[in-house]
């Protein structure tokens, strides 16, 4: 392989990685937000991404709503499902510790997955979108839908930042994440904040599920297939850290693409496991995490 050829291939893989990492960041932020406030890893995040993807599908193909509105529907559907999971499956176990809550979320994920199967079956579903060819810039190829999804993901992150930084509710959420006892002393209602965090986290996961589905098609396992990458991104960034989740997702996205190029495509999934192993061994708090 000549040098310029290899350079082009690596550049292309990095661009693909940045784009897929940015989309992955959306559910990864959701996962981290729930962890920050409730202190347990919600493994239903994958199934919630699927729920969102199907919510968006109904909005888009049954009600004929445009993409942007359907994404909000995806957010809302997953947020409601997330709160139901939290109230029915997870919260009754909150005296039993984070591990029990994580296991409850796994069980809830299986239920959600099969609820989707019950209504839509195992088959593939596609959104009502035009199929566009990629645009070629020299050796580099970029898809219009890819760029659009990239933009939407950035917009979602900016909106989240604005919510956390500028609204009283967002500030209260950050306060609970920082120090729950202190926040309670200052009159912040932890139950209400927990509900907001779950709705926000699950909603972001749902939006992420739909964003991924826009580029491909969706089936009940669309979300669950991503759980490893989401978890790895969150662990790398530092569980509970939102900027960390973004950076972690970008690193995972690029690493996965480079693995395809430089090692072998079938090792792509190994990236997630290796990252989790390495972070937990070397720096359990992750890149941005304060606590471990």
């Amino acid at each position: 392989m000549p040098d310029s050829f290899l350079f082009g291939a690596i550049l292309q893989a990095l661009i693909n990685g940045v784009i897929s990492g940015t989309i992955l960041a959306v559910p990864a932020i959701g996962f981290s937000a729930i962890f920050a406030v409730l202190n347990y890893p919600n493994f239903a995040i994958g199934a919630l991404a699927s729920v969102g993807a199907y919510g968006g599908l109904v909005a888009n193909t049954v009600f004929g709503l445009p993409l942007e509105v359907s994404l909000l529907a995806a957010f809302a559907t997953a947020a409601v499902a997330g709160i139901v999971v939290e109230w029915v499956a997870v919260r009754p176990l909150n005296q039993a510790g984070a591990l029990m809550m994580a296991i409850a979320s796994l069980a809830a994920a299986i239920v959600l997955e099969n609820v989707i199967r019950f209504f839509w079956g195992n088959g593939l579903r596609g959104y009502d979108l035009p199929m566009l060819r990629d645009v070629q810039f020299g050796a580099i190829r970029v898809g219009p839908q890819q760029v659009k999804n990239f933009g939407i993901s950035i917009a979602a992150m900016v909106a989240l930042w604005a919510f956390l930084a500028l609204t009283p509710l967002g500030r209260a959420m950050r306060a609970v994440a920082d120090n729950a006892d202190l926040a309670r002393l200052r009159g912040v209602d932890p139950v209400r904040i927990a509900a907001v965090a779950v709705a926000l986290g699950a909603g972001l996961a749902g939006m992420g599920g739909m964003l991924i589905g826009l580029d491909t098609s969706i089936d009940p396992l669309t979300g669950p297939r991503l759980v490893l990458s989401i978890f790895a991104a969150a662990v790398l960034g530092g569980l509970g850290s939102i900027p960390g989740a973004v950076v972690g997702a970008l690193v995972i996205g690029m690493a996965e693409e480079l693995t395809v190029l430089l090692i072998a495509p079938s090792y792509r999934s190994v990236v997630g496991f290796v990252v989790i192993l390495a972070v937990l061994t070397v720096r359990p708090a992750g890149l941005f995490g304060a606590r471990a």
Binding site: F5, A9, Q12, A13, N16, S20, G123, L124, R125, G126, L129, P130, M131, L132, R133, D134, R141, G143, I212, G213, D215, T216, S217, D219, L221, T222, R225, L226, E256, E257, V260, L261, A264, P265, S266, Y267, R268, S269
Partner: protein
């Protein structure tokens, strides 16, 4: 004491006499072991009914070697455990000479050792390569092509499309390597080259994999996955403006996929699948027996099983599993008179002629480990959003 001995002798002879009588008129016992329930449930009942139809016809025409055939149909529930229980009943209680129609590879793998240990012949429709590699010593044959033969057909089809550079993209499966090796051999025999990329089927995008493929400059890409990952792959090939031909498995590019992804993405994709020998005499007989214009491949295959078993018994002059084991290839292949039903075959054998059975599922010629040598394949292409038949060959 004397009395007691006489009584014993008498009662023993009384017990023995009916069994002596029975031995002469004892019917031939054959078993079907098909999935009447479970994942194979749509196929098993039709398969068993087809065998019943053949047995009734042969019985009406006088049976085999002057004996009537008694058919026992059991349910394997598409489950190896249930399959073994049912096989034990067929072998130990019913004392069948042959078991036909095991469907799931897991069931066949579990039942096969029972069959060969008890000298019961097994005919199966399972496809896993490993089945005929079991140490069965000739006690089983299968009519379903193994995955290696499917790979060979893929390679030959690609070459026939004028391909010189074939790029194969498959997820990791138990048959990926063997299937690719067969494709590569077929491609190289046709003067072409082939390369394999194993991708991770769980990823939502295969863009970088497609870039890899494009660097090989293929004129044919084989998309060898299942439906979800193949739909991702086809989209990414479309986006990359791949202009060559795409071949895929019919079980992946199916009606469900055509409904779910944009038409232009699948347009022109060619598919391949093992096919019954539509248009053959045997196929027409299965159509009549099953009462449908399009009998499934497994019903066609079990029709061939029962015909072959009955003719092998006639050929060997005995109704045991051993006779089937020793004679099945003498009726399934060779230069004899071509027949497509046991009725014709049995008459020819009685007249001392050689026969070569040409079945509903294909020519039914077997190699030494029991793999079918050649079957028809069905080639289709997506045209205007629908699968259209190119040919069956």
């Amino acid at each position: 004491m004397t009395l007691a001995r006489r009584t014993l002798l008498l009662s023993t002879s009384l017990l023995a006499a009916p069994s002596l009588v029975r031995a002469q008129a004892a019917p031939i016992k054959l078993g079907t072991l098909t999935p009447l329930t479970g994942a194979g449930g749509p196929y098993g009942p039709v398969m068993a009914a087809c065998v019943r139809g053949v047995v009734d016809q042969v019985n009406a025409a006088g049976g085999v070697l002057g004996k009537q055939i008694e058919l026992i149909s059991e349910d394997d529930q598409t489950n190896p455990e249930a399959g073994v229980r049912a096989a034990r009943k067929l072998i130990d209680v019913d004392r069948v000479s042959a078991i036909m129609g095991t469907w799931a590879s897991s069931v066949t793998t579990a039942v096969a050792p029972l069959a060969w240990e008890n000298k019961v012949f097994l005919a199966t429709v399972s496809g896993a390569d490993s089945i005929t590699l079991l140490p069965h010593n000739g006690w089983l044959v299968r009519t379903q092509p193994n995955t290696t033969l499917q790979g060979k057909k893929f390679g030959e089809f690609a070459v026939a499309q004028g391909a010189k550079r074939i790029f194969v993209m498959m997820p990791q499966t138990p048959f990926t390597q063997s299937q690719f090796a067969a494709m590569k051999a077929a491609a190289e025999a046709g003067g072409g080259a082939a390369e394999l990329l194993i991708y991770d089927a769980t990823k939502p995008s295969l863009r970088t994999e497609v870039d890899q493929a494009m660097r090989f400059r293929p004129d044919v890409i084989v998309a060898g996955g299942y439906t979800p990952d193949t739909s991702v792959l086809l989209r990414d090939l479309y986006r990359a403006s791949f202009s060559g031909k795409v071949l895929a498995f019919a079980y992946a590019v199916n009606q469900a996929m055509l409904g779910a992804i944009p038409k232009e993405v699948v347009e022109g994709v060619m598919t391949l699948a093992p096919s019954p020998a539509a248009g053959s005499g045997g196929y027409a007989k299965v159509q009549a027996l099953a009462g449908t214009q399009a009998p499934d491949p497994y019903t066609c295959q079990i029709y061939d099983h029962v015909n072959l078993v009955l003719m092998a018994m006639a050929k060997g002059g005995a109704t045991t599993g051993q006779a089937v084991h020793d004679n099945i290839r003498k009726v399934s292949q060779g230069s004899g008179e071509s027949v497509d039903t046991a009725l014709d075959g049995l008459r020819a054998i009685a007249a001392g002629r050689e026969v070569n059975y040409e079945g509903a599922s294909g020519p039914c010629d077997f190699n030494e480990i029991g793999d079918v040598l050649d079957v028809k394949f069905r080639y289709e292409q997506v045209k205007a959003g629908a699968l259209t038949l190119i040919r069956i060959a």
